[in-house]
Symmetry: C2
Subunit: 467 residues, 2 copies
């Protein structure tokens, strides 16, 4: 079967007009007007549906087709007819219709306006709805835009390991990975589990970040990026947290914090532009039904400079707001970790655009961040965006061996575990920087969808790993 | 610092000639001729090194630079000088050199011709060698070529879950993922572990394939693909097996086995072409030092049609070879699973090119493959390539509800677990097909590297999950 996708016809209605084509897809509606009828079909190639007209005279199995339910799959042969004076630019005049797979009458996607909560229980079918088809296309387009952005700039894509034997940055609770029989694990004489008998010869976990391994490769390729799944075993049931999510982590040699932010800002803008260009129908739908003002906001972001403010300045702004009567749940003072309410105030109310906050107090940031000359802050940057909060966290890395060793010791970390990381500082160390982008948060930002469960194909959260 | 990558200068020597630039990278060699010297620098932007010339008169810290060890990082400011009559097309006349990070004298990458076994113990540094820099660049280029291939053809990229609660196809041993305290897990009254208390509310594992979940999305988008990590907890210590590896799994609605093979063949050819075009220096190196004949073989593959032969015909070919005196360790007869020696005979000796073997006996293939009309074979296809063996395994999927249910029951599988998979056949089922490409096997094929540990940035194998 030489099938033509609906997208191709929309792209070149004039070229297809008068020509025979075969399309295949799933029924969205059938209207039977007795001697003729309309079938609305979607094949997933684009957001738009195709309308086929069938005449009882022309289509042998007219009654069969007129009786199929929503969700049935059809193969339609027909001729494209341009309809410049109708809302849709063409129709397909059906000549032959094969019902490939009827949908049983209990098809759960029939009812209009099913809640997103209900659709979460139908993960295998929900991408057949307009909303989720749009979300997952945007996700795909954004993912490719990210690859393209980095590849065009000469970055090397490095897949960092999922199974790890080190806790990257103490960044959070980790999942244990094992082949031991948990019912009855082998034990040492003292009764503790004998991890040496596990698959890898010691205890292993799922990674929380590929950054440290990516640095290995930045020290040979200069510019690298990762794009892969990462994990948090945190028992937090919020709209922004999932146990399994994808991260993009570029790492650049001979690059400082300013260079880091330049790359992050350019990347976000390119991804926004690509999604707007490649998914206009999807974006219009989000703008209409999910988040009015989305398109305008994204246009604004793509064309304006991001704000950049130090943590110390940010605290002053927040303190002033506090003094002026703005009520924060968590009181503001230098040294605190910024809470979501603070981040939102900065990006939504004060700057009204994406905002980099830089140079955080050392004690609230990770060990690998470069100590500033003031001795109390580090060259970190978080990118906050309206409606989401933190979407990117980055830093210049501590490239000075002695300072890094001091920090590791001061934090009571196991220096032996970081031998290889310290080696990078022993052999040809250099200024370098990188950041991590939470990919699902980006998709939420691009679509206006406010729950991470609705931008993951099959979300994994506390108590949930279905499908 | 506005640095110029070495790649950019090679791309436009004429344009850069006479112009000042700043380059930054790692020392590969320093030759001190007393009043002048040569520094060979690589910055990872391309395979080629840059040669800088420094005069004692011009470079203030000449002696410092002359004394740095291999692997040290330098920032060099200088002027590009075209050298059309020398082997390299240009030199950099250094004016200022900053030693960013000296390499300690025990730098393990100093010695030439270190064995690959030794380099495996230096995973954080090995990408600084020519060999591994070439391997990991080809890996990156191939990965992007795959994304590009599918995106340009309208496929939607779907990230399928890593943590799963179902054993996709009984495809192999799985890793357990848990947050229970393995030392002392919660137990039910009968003494067994209470998995209901685990993070997801039941026992979970690392995925062996994203196919079944990808099918969910093929039934809404038509054409989709996955590209992500998959896992096997098999205790097999071979050169072709790793516990963690990446797979590409396209899935296409309204597509049969022939269409499936067409896509697989086109994809392999596009990836080969892209890698040859974008990595000519790397490929030349592999061809010279790793696998003589590699480039010729790949050229041949990219420009010739793949062979297609049914399993039944393949068995006849092998039986004939056997009768003619070819000694196989595993005797050949209809019904056997093809062994590596058989696959290699077919692709290397008989067809001498990539070969699809199709229509295998049902009893040696997975439950979801479509039963052929003969009632004893299924619409499967394995793509075998010279030197590697199986690189792709695919099939048309069983889209007929009754037949799929029969198969699941006959194999004694838990039908309840496959409810959602069966739903796809209940609601608008259609002919569809897909395949899985082992990405590391592809990289081995593209580079001539014969050990999977050497194409994975940080390989995970039995007893090994370092870094």
């Amino acid at each position: 079967m030489q099938r033509t996708t609906i997208e191709k016809i929309y792209e070149d209605v004039e070229g297809f007009a008068g020509r025979p084509v075969t399309v295949a897809g799933w029924v969205r509606s059938v209207r039977d007007m007795k001697n003729f009828g309309f079938v609305t079909l979607n094949d997933g190639s684009c957001f738009k549906d195709l309308q086929a007209v069938m005449n009882r005279d022309a289509v042998e199995n007219y009654d069969e087709v007129a009786g199929v339910g929503v969700g049935s799959s059809l193969v339609i042969e027909g001729v494209v007819e341009a309809t410049p004076d109708r809302p849709q630019p063409f129709e397909l005049k059906a000549e032959r219709i094969v019902v490939e797979g009827p949908a049983a009458p209990d098809y759960p996607m029939q009812k209009k306006r099913a809640t997103r909560e209900f659709l979460r229980t139908q993960q295998h079918l929900r991408s057949r709805t307009n909303l989720f088809r749009a979300v997952f296309r945007v996700r795909s387009v954004a993912a490719f835009a990210i690859h393209q952005f980095f590849q065009e700039r000469g970055f090397v894509y490095v897949t960092t390991p999922i199974i790890t034997t080190s806790d990257a940055e103490g960044a959070g609770e980790m999942f244990r990975v094992t082949t031991l029989d948990v019912e009855n694990p082998p034990r040492l004489e003292d009764g503790s589990v004998d991890w040496a008998q596990d698959f890898f010869g010691h205890a292993a976990s799922l990674t929380v970040s590929g950054q440290l391994q990516a640095e290995n490769f930045a020290m040979s390729f200069g510019d690298v990026y990762t794009f892969g799944p990462t994990f948090r075993a945190e028992n937090s049931n919020t709209r922004r947290h999932a146990a399994e999510f994808w991260m993009v982590e570029p790492e650049m040699a001979f690059c400082d914090l300013d260079g880091d932010m330049d790359v992050a800002e350019a990347m976000l803008k390119v991804v926004i532009r690509q999604v707007m260009d490649r998914c206009p129908d999807e974006m219009e739908m989000f703008n209409k039904f999910v988040d009015k003002g989305l398109v305008e906001r994204l246009e604004h972001v793509a064309s304006s400079e991001f704000a950049r403010v130090t943590y110390t300045e940010a605290i002053e702004i927040l303190e002033k707001a506090q003094a002026d009567g703005h009520a924060f749940e968590y009181p503001v003072s230098w040294g605190i970790d910024l809470q979501t309410e603070h981040e939102r105030y900065l990006t939504e109310e004060h700057f009204k655009r994406p905002t980099f906050v830089t140079d955080y107090p050392a004690q609230i940031k990770a060990f690998y961040m470069r100590l500033n000359d003031d001795g109390r802050t580090v060259a970190a940057c978080d990118c906050l965006v309206p409606g989401i909060g933190e979407i990117i966290g980055g830093s210049q890395r501590e490239e000075r061996l002695e300072l890094l060793e001091e920090r590791i010791e001061a934090l009571g970390m196991d220096k032996e575990q970081y031998k290889y990381y310290l080696d990078l500082r022993r052999y040809g160390t250099c200024e370098h920087a990188g950041f991590g982008l939470g990919f699902e948060r980006l998709v939420m930002y691009l679509t206006g969808i406010d729950n991470i469960r609705d931008v993951l194909p099959h979300p994994r959260t506390v108590g949930n790993a279905e499908f």
